[in-house]
Amino acid sequence: MGLDLALATLLSPVVLFFVLGLMAALAKSEVAVPEAFAKGIAIYLMMAIGLKGGVEMSKTGLTLEIIMVMAAGIFLSFSLPLIAFALLRLTTKLPQIDAAAVAAHYGSISIVTFLAATQAVNFAGLDNSGHLVAVAALMEVPAIMTALLLAGRGKKKVPGSEQGDLFREVALNASVVVLVGALIIGWITGEAGMAKIEAFFVTPLQGVLCLFLLDMGLAAGRGLRQGWRSLEPTTIGFGLYMPLISASIAALFCFLLPMSAGDAALLITLAASASYIAAPAAMRLALPKAKPSIYLTLSLGVTFPFNLTIGIPLYIVVAQLVTA
């Protein structure tokens, strides 16, 4: 089963287009998905994911169990950066500020990894519920807050900024707003509303994802080409073992909480995934002296491909074990 799943994942069009982009960028080809087009697609993806989660939540409502899973997600997002930070400081030569910035990425989540996991979960014949989308949204921001504390960012006023600016900008970052907004809209309009728009938001989703992953592959490849020199081997190692650590801790929660195997797989994936949209933007604003060549390359160039190919099938198997 695990092998089947791993193979199906590896040879899915979505993963292959990521590999195409990665190879094109490493071979210095000039292929590029225009930035405006890619960002438009990113918004589409967040709308699609949010709507789907919302429609499903409109069927189940908000139960105590769901609230417990949400709380677990928030707790993981807050606390995983602490572990990440400690590990980075122990095993790498990264300065405090860079270690904090990297930590933020590993506490926060990757929505594309989540989407890929959703599809693998379905392929594995497991069910998953819509509220995991809400959990994903809830896990984006807390890690960033933790990282700001870890970086020891003082309260001294930056010229031109207003009080509360930073918090607002971090909490209201684009992905959270669109994801949560679409979730609420899906919840309000339910299946009836969705029926009218699913020809745009549901049916073509897999194909759109191929295009987006081509672009992610290009970005990852370009990042690796520019940034691999800034990465020590121990830092790269971190990008590979940290997801496993996060996954293990999340698996513990799944064992303790009453969750279906599919939901557990998604929560584990969220914990193991690293952000490459919300967190970098927040870091640039809050910790401009931290180097994007480190945190971006690690998250997008190392951890994302790891999760996409090896991680997700593994997390599904683990989820089945802990919820059995």
């Binding site: 590029a32 031109g160 672009d215 933007a281």
Partner: protein
Amino acid sequence: MAHVMNRLELIIERMALSRASNVLEDAGLTGFTVVSALAGFGRGQHWRRDGDLSAAQDMVVIISIGKADKTKAALDELHRLLENHIGVVSVSEVEVLRPDRF
């Protein structure tokens, strides 16, 4: 012609645009125009806009033409802003038409 003004050119992270724009406005400069950068190089690192999904590395170029004293006032604050941010600021002299609008 022969109305001499200062041309301030500030290259800064897009994320810091609203801060920089507050600084310029507070210094009394009457206008500025922002252009977005496509790529760049600094301290050994290259970036390009389409290699980064988060747009975290985007830079902008802010051009503001104004009276020397206003430019001076802006520079002092910009100096402080740039302690927290990444960027390059430069000033040159230009001649303008319609000096009354600055």
